[in-house]
């Protein structure tokens, strides 16, 4: 395998609009974005709740949340597979080897990230914020919304981070997606497959796209932190 030739082929594939290649990229984006949309509302609510209210078991919940951050993606994939397999408890839903299953897996993976960032954001909020909002007549829902808006930069960082985790994971996508061409083959499973076939060109092309995405996300993050109010 000549790395230089493979890289050349990779760029040719990318810019010629190769149908298979761009479909793979589209599947990655679609699955990651939908899983993000699914996970965000509940995760943000959980993070806010953990930061704001005291209740028995709160400490345990926070510790659990933080340990879920590094939960291996293959484990999520394995557990989800066992739930979704036709013999399993959720087998009748026929979700295995579909994009929906991948979405569920990735939603589960980015959920802890979003919740943990929101928790940190709200905990780090100025204590006067709450008093000011309440003092000006804001009810509990408006106060919550105002709080989240005020710490939105950190929450947004969580969203970007969660997206990064979702789009770059392969363990769960492979297990519950099955890497079916045109259906559940996304960038990471394709890279895993293509390189196993020795087809490095497509692997490099996809890896390049992932790299660009990662760079884009990090640049956006840096921009946000900059605006985030280091006054």
């Amino acid at each position: 395998m000549d790395p230089l030739a493979a890289t050349g082929d990779a760029f040719r594939l990318l810019f010629s609009g190769d149908h298979d290649l761009w479909r793979i990229i589209w599947i990655s984006l679609r699955v990651a974005l939908i899983s993000l949309v699914l996970a965000t509302p509940l995760a943000v609510a959980l993070g806010f709740g953990l930061a704001t209210f005291n209740f028995p078991g709160r400490r345990a919940a926070v510790v659990t949340l933080q340990s879920l951050l590094s939960f291996p993606t293959v484990m999520v994939g394995l557990i989800l597979y066992m739930l979704l397999t036709r013999r399993g408890p959720l087998g009748s839903l026929h979700l295995l080897f579909t994009q929906e299953a991948m979405i569920i897996g990735q939603a589960l993976l980015c959920f802890p990230v979003l919740a943990a960032y929101t928790l940190a954001a709200v905990q780090g909020a100025d204590p006067r914020l709450r008093e000011t909002a309440i003092g000006l007549g804001a009810g509990p829902w408006r106060t919550a919304l105002t709080t989240l808006l005020e710490v939105r930069f950190t929450v947004l960082a969580g969203v970007l981070n969660g997206f990064g985790r979702a789009i770059s994971e392969v363990g769960s996508a492979m297990m519950v997606g099955g890497n079916i061409e045109g259906v559940t083959r996304n960038m990471t499973t394709a890279i895993a497959l293509e390189t196993s076939k020795g087809e490095f060109a497509q692997g490099i092309a996809l890896g390049f796209v992932l790299l660009v995405l990662a760079l884009g996300i990090n640049m956006a993050l840096a921009l946000i932190q900059g605006q985030g109010g280091m006054k």
Partner: protein, 272 residues
């Protein structure tokens, strides 16, 4: 007026969501097959012909033979295309699958580096060849993943009465393509099916050293997952595929598939 509008809207939404599902006469088929079958490129040529007639897609999940059969056992796929005869028979006997039919065969070959340190080139006795490789402690890469190929290889070692162990014997736990790539980089030997070797020949530069042993005959079978076990499995689709691939048309398509001018699979379905 508003009530009528609301009712109409509701009906339209309902119709829009139900209609596509109802109009679908043929539903997609999920097929589990082995990585070596997928890597050979046969399916890329074969399936579009079937899909054109059947009217829906075949979704291919390629894993090792063992996992493919497990998927069938769990009802996660509708049909299997594998090459592990003893396991296939057990699969049917245990009630997991029905209508097992012969489809095609290819053969296994022993490939290795041009230099051939164990000097097995030209032999037609695979067991004897493996004994020589063992004696020379030449690098050997095994699938190590319970696949059909892997099971064949293990049976040869058993016949040879030798237990392969040591740094020279690598159990990869991966698909055929990866194993061939590994053999190439380690300049070692491996047992492979002819088709995958053909597909990878340019990349690996390995030579065919041992072939023609009747024990290296690799038959493929197609099995539909038992609908009595999983009533909502796509049995209709599975049987459509089973019938097509064993029909004269499907069998011809298999025979016509060539890589670098060489036929890789040989149709073997019972004539009807």
């Amino acid at each position: 007026m508003a009530k009528l509008l609301r009712r109409t809207l509701g009906f339209l939404v309902l119709a829009a969501t139900i209609t596509p599902a109802v109009l679908l006469a043929a539903t997609d088929i999920k097929m589990a097959t082995t990585t070596s079958t997928e890597n050979s490129g046969l399916l890329k040529v074969l399936l579009p012909q079937f899909e054109a007639e059947y009217g829906a897609k075949v979704q291919v999940i390629s894993v090792g033979s063992g996992k493919a059969m497990k998927l069938g056992e769990n009802g996660d796929v509708d049909v299997l295309l594998v090459h592990a005869r003893p396991e296939e028979d057990k699969f049917v006997a245990q009630g997991h699958g029905v209508n097992r039919r012969d489809v095609m065969y290819n053969d296994f070959i022993l490939v290795g580096p041009k230099e051939d340190p164990a000097q097995v080139r030209g032999m037609t006795d695979v067991v004897a060849a493996l004994k020589k490789i063992h004696a020379a402690q030449a690098p050997f890469i095994s699938r190590g993943d319970d696949s059909g190929t892997d099971k064949m290889e293990k049976s040869y070692w058993q016949t040879a009465g030798v237990k392969p162990q040591g740094a020279w014997y690598v159990s990869a736990g991966q698909g055929m393509g990866e194993v061939l790539t590994m053999a190439a980089s380690k300049q070692g030997y491996t047992l492979t099916d002819r088709a995958t070797h053909g597909a990878y020949k340019d990349k690996t530069g390995l030579d065919i050293l041992v072939q023609g042993d009747p024990r290296m005959f690799n038959p493929y079978g197609v099995i539909a997952v038992n609908p009595k076990k999983y009533p909502d499995i796509n049995y209709r689709g599975a049987m459509a595929f089973v019938d097509w691939i064993t029909s004269p048309e499907g069998q011809k398509a298999i025979a016509d598939f060539k890589l670098n001018g060489e036929q890789l699979f040989f149709p073997s379905a019972a004539k009807r």
